[in-house]
Symmetry: C2
Subunit: 308 residues, 2 copies
């Protein structure tokens, strides 16, 4: 039940109130696969420039992440530089240098084309469609997108959505895409345009899964220390798809569990810079955090006796 | 197990994208008691001016709400006028006329002094303390406050907190009070200053209960139509305290259930202007919505088999 991700492999320079990183591992495919690989092997398709510190990707291959689909192109690697506010609520992009990512044309290696589960990281929807044209018959396709494509390539994005099972977006993106500020109406609108499920991520609050058969809410894990929110969304997607791929179960019931794995992985991601937290993370720690969600939302409603 | 609320009895004029009201029933004691009275009888202490449309309070007495503690003073009633943004995310206060509320000195009628459960609505912490001086020995005291008192009467507020079991605030208030932007650290700080439990309300997202023995998260009920957010917090408090008073159980386990009743009542409040939604509301509808929360957060985590 192979799991394929197509997305960016980048170098992030991030400033938070707690410190900063320079050219640290980043990008949607990196966060996704570091999170997902704790649950299931991952195949990555992406591109790096000839300046990319390939030795530092060993931490990924060590995790069973297959990087043979990462193209090595002449030029600079994708770099992103950002700065967070004192309370991590807002971030400012200081610099984006696309480098070789600007010309990225995903080529899915022959041995990846039978992927059963596919995550399309946030790239041009035309490229996301080209990925789907290259894979055989996945059981579940999930994708991310962003304001830039919603505004600039709406028609292509809508064409993509018709071929996608799960759209994972944040609340602002769901609102922009649907033109509706109510996220539940927005999700319902999206459901009429292709996806069977919509995941609306709400950052520090949690995330909502909306499908034809109901709504599921998972809170964010309560953290007293957040170091760097970068990559939380892609790590969420990694936990979500990693669980689906591991179980091979795409039912709504199982997607509820996938949401909990997503929220757990998102919470690990923000506990350290870059993907550092995933290096040391053990399957037991993942299981423990996932189980903590049961306690976080647990309540027993006894038969109501009306004394009023 | 009587339930006492002390707070404002006001006239609200509210503009939302969906319409407007003029001099509608409002105020913390009104929202609180309309919500709570669906679960348990409520005793109200407050003040109105001689211009208050007393006949319109019949909807409260009809609900078993005891208004004999509402003082009739010479002068104008408390009026608030506000306007919400198109997405209901922001509101602007257009006018506040305290009227007789400016001179409000809560007098707890003798027959209310044995109250087992007390909610101190958002008023001057000096007055909140004076209420506690007048009641015998409540099993649980909960209070609300706001930025104005946190800034202007911090010392008195901290004195009040030492006598309170549950503080219910929104996230901005928790941050301001503790000086910490992380709401879990903020809540823990508050727990070291008196209350056994802190409820941090997060508006459209949900609410968190933090106590020494754990954290409980209840999402906001997913609504596709929100008409008027006014009074959601006080209705939450009404559901919370109403459940506690009805059950007579102040354990952490039962406060989890109380949170769900709180979130349910908050969701009803915003479905109509003023307290209109509570007029027609039946105990069955309340039970149905409370039970829907179980489904909203339900997931079954089967024994994990590591195939990775």
């Amino acid at each position: 039940m192979s799991l394929l991700v197509v997305g960016s492999v980048a170098l992030d320079s991030v400033q938070t109130p707690f410190g900063s990183t320079a050219d640290a591992l980043g990008g949607s495919a990196v966060f996704f696969s570091m999170a997902a690989s704790l649950l299931h092997p991952v195949q990555v398709v992406g591109v790096v420039g000839n300046d990319y510190p390939m030795d530092r990707l060993e931490r990924m291959t060590k995790r069973g992440i297959d990087l043979t689909g990462v193209e090595h192109a002449q030029g600079e690697s994708f770099r992103w530089k950002g700065k967070y506010s004192y309370d991590l609520q807002n971030r400012e992009t200081l610099e984006t240098r696309l480098g070789v990512f600007a010309e990225f044309k995903p080529q899915i290696p022959k041995e990846f084309r039978g992927a059963r589960h596919v995550f399309l990281g946030n790239i041009d929807p035309e490229l996301q469609i080209s990925v789907l044209d290259q894979v055989d018959d996945p059981a579940l396709v999930a994708c991310d997108t962003m304001n830039y494509w919603i505004e600039g390539k709406r028609d292509v994005l809508m064409e993509l959505l018709r071929r996608v099972d799960v759209l994972l977006v944040n609340d602002a993106e769901a609102r922009q895409l649907s033109g509706d500020w109510n996220i539940y109406r927005a999700a319902r609108w999206i459901l009429t345009h292709g996806p069977r499920f919509v995941v609306v991520k709400q950052g520090e609050y949690g995330a909502v899964l909306v499908g034809a058969d109901g709504i599921f809410y998972v809170p964010a894990y309560p953290l007293e220390q957040v170091f760097d929110p970068t990559g939380a969304g892609d790590s969420f997607a990694g936990g979500f798809l990693g669980h689906v791929a591991r179980s091979g179960d795409t039912s709504g019931e199982n997607l509820r569990r996938a949401m909990v794995y997503g929220s757990a992985m998102g919470s690990f991601a923000v506990e350290a810079f870059s993907v550092d937290r995933f290096d040391e993370l053990t399957p037991d720690e993942v299981t423990e955090r996932v189980r903590a969600f049961s306690e976080l939302v647990r309540f027993d409603m006894p038969p109501v006796t009306e004394s009023a």
